[in-house]
């Protein structure tokens, strides 16, 4: 069984049509999966469901052979031990310094020793190149710096799988590079990641496999070179011809 196994995942918002339909995906440890597709195709919904922000209507998720239970608030904690998410808008806590943003969840949710967590948090901030910004508040940081704090904050939870939801989409073009560099180094370190992104060149570079979604379903999966250069399904052909034109 794959490290992360998603079987028949189906999600709907309050009685409306399914936003995810029967999505299945197997991910091996250390793999980086790029999720691509047009807006509204359900890419972000997969990530938000895995981390427990949306409740699946059907389907199963298993990590390392253990089924993740999304049924109750209490069991969600288990899901949150497995996954950590980084959002498009960074979503840092505005009232906390960078260090506190990174350290708060492990101390509060996982009840770990504060001094130890803060030592780790400093290391993580150094790892994303922000050693000198530990005491800065989010409004004192650039978008790229905030996003790197958000990545450090997700890593502090020691997730098995890191979920990146269009993490460069809200950034000025000249700040995108620093965030992508951080993700590249995570990939080299063997972090298992699911990446939703419109940066196709980047996906092509870091992803081991790409899944193309359309209208809530996985249409095609494969290695990035194949997917981009020799798309099989008509929808993916149309999509790649449109995005590769500019």
């Amino acid at each position: 069984m794959a490290f992360l196994s998603i079987q028949g995942l189906t999600v709907s918002y309050g009685g409306k049509a399914d936003v995810l339909r029967d999505v299945s995906l197997d991910v091996e440890r250390g793999e980086v999966i790029g999720l691509i597709g047009p807006s509204g195709s359900g890419k972000s919904t997969i990530l938000r469901t895995l981390v427990g922000l949306l409740k699946p209507r059907a389907g199963t998720v298993a990590v390392d052979g253990a089924k993740v239970d999304y049924g109750s608030r209490g069991s969600l904690r288990a899901a949150r031990d497995r996954f950590a998410i980084v959002f498009q808008q960074y979503n840092l806590f505005q009232n906390m310094t960078a260090l506190r943003n990174v350290a708060i969840a492990p101390t509060l949710v996982k009840k770990r020793n504060r001094a130890e967590v803060e030592r780790e948090a400093r290391d993580l901030l150094a790892r994303v190149g922000l050693a000198e910004k530990v005491d800065a508040y989010p409004d004192e940081l650039s978008g790229g710096q905030q996003q790197r704090v958000a990545i450090a904050r997700a890593l502090a939870l020691k997730p098995d799988i890191l979920l990146l939801d269009e993490v460069t989409a809200a950034l000025d073009p000249e700040l995108v590079g620093e965030v992508l560099d951080t993700i590249r180094s995570l990939q080299r370190d063997g972090m298992t990641m699911l990446i939703v992104s419109h940066e196709m060149a980047f996906i092509r570079e870091v992803a081991s496999r790409v899944a193309f979604l359309d209208q809530g379903a996985v249409v095609e999966t494969g290695p990035p070179a194949e997917m981009f250069d020799r798309p099989q399904s008509p929808r993916l052909k149309e999509f790649t011809s449109r995005i590769l034109r500019h």
């Binding site: 981390v51 427990g52 922000l53 904690r77 949150r80 998410i85 806590f93 009232n95 969840a105 996982k110």
Partner: protein, 224 residues
Amino acid sequence: MNYSLIYSQVTGHIPYLLGGAVLTLQLAMISFLAGWAIGLLNASILHFGPRAARLAVQAYVTFFINTPLLVQIFFIFFVLPDAGILLSPYAAVAIGMSLNAGAYLTEIQRAGFQSLRREELDAASAMGFSVPQMVWYVIVPHIAKALYPPLSNQFIIQVMTTSIAAIFAVEELTGRAYNVNSLTFRSLEVFSIVAVIYVALTLVCSVALALIGRWLFRVRARIL
């Protein structure tokens, strides 16, 4: 009008009046803190709670905002003893003022819940925060910063409102002023001194609140 100001008959009572001012401040602080806690709980219920609880909170707020504080305290002081709940005048005033402030502070803090960026709650939720943890670590600091001006206004209002306690023979500033007035009959002198003490009290509170806001919550408020 043939009135000559004779402050000398009143100045001796100033320490007594200042003692009343301490009680005034005490009542204001108690009722503000209790009202803040009630308001925070209510606003949390309005945001996260089930429908029945939300309706109960709305009924509470509607009742306390649409009846006079004095009537509420009369009720607590004169009606509750029939149910076996006997309260001292001080306790009755403190409870009445707390419940009343609780209604206003519910409305103020509700705005805080609504103005919080939805994304911060998503992040907290995705990291496994419980609802009380979200409220305490994410929402309360946001409210303290974003709603600092209306919150400190409410505190100043509480300072003024304590004068109602004089009706129940609580010896706060106004109550003691009334006593000194009955003793000396120098009304203009007594109440002008009391007015100065109230102004000094609220000014000191305003400056203190502005400084607390700067240090604790990074609020860029004007000091005066």
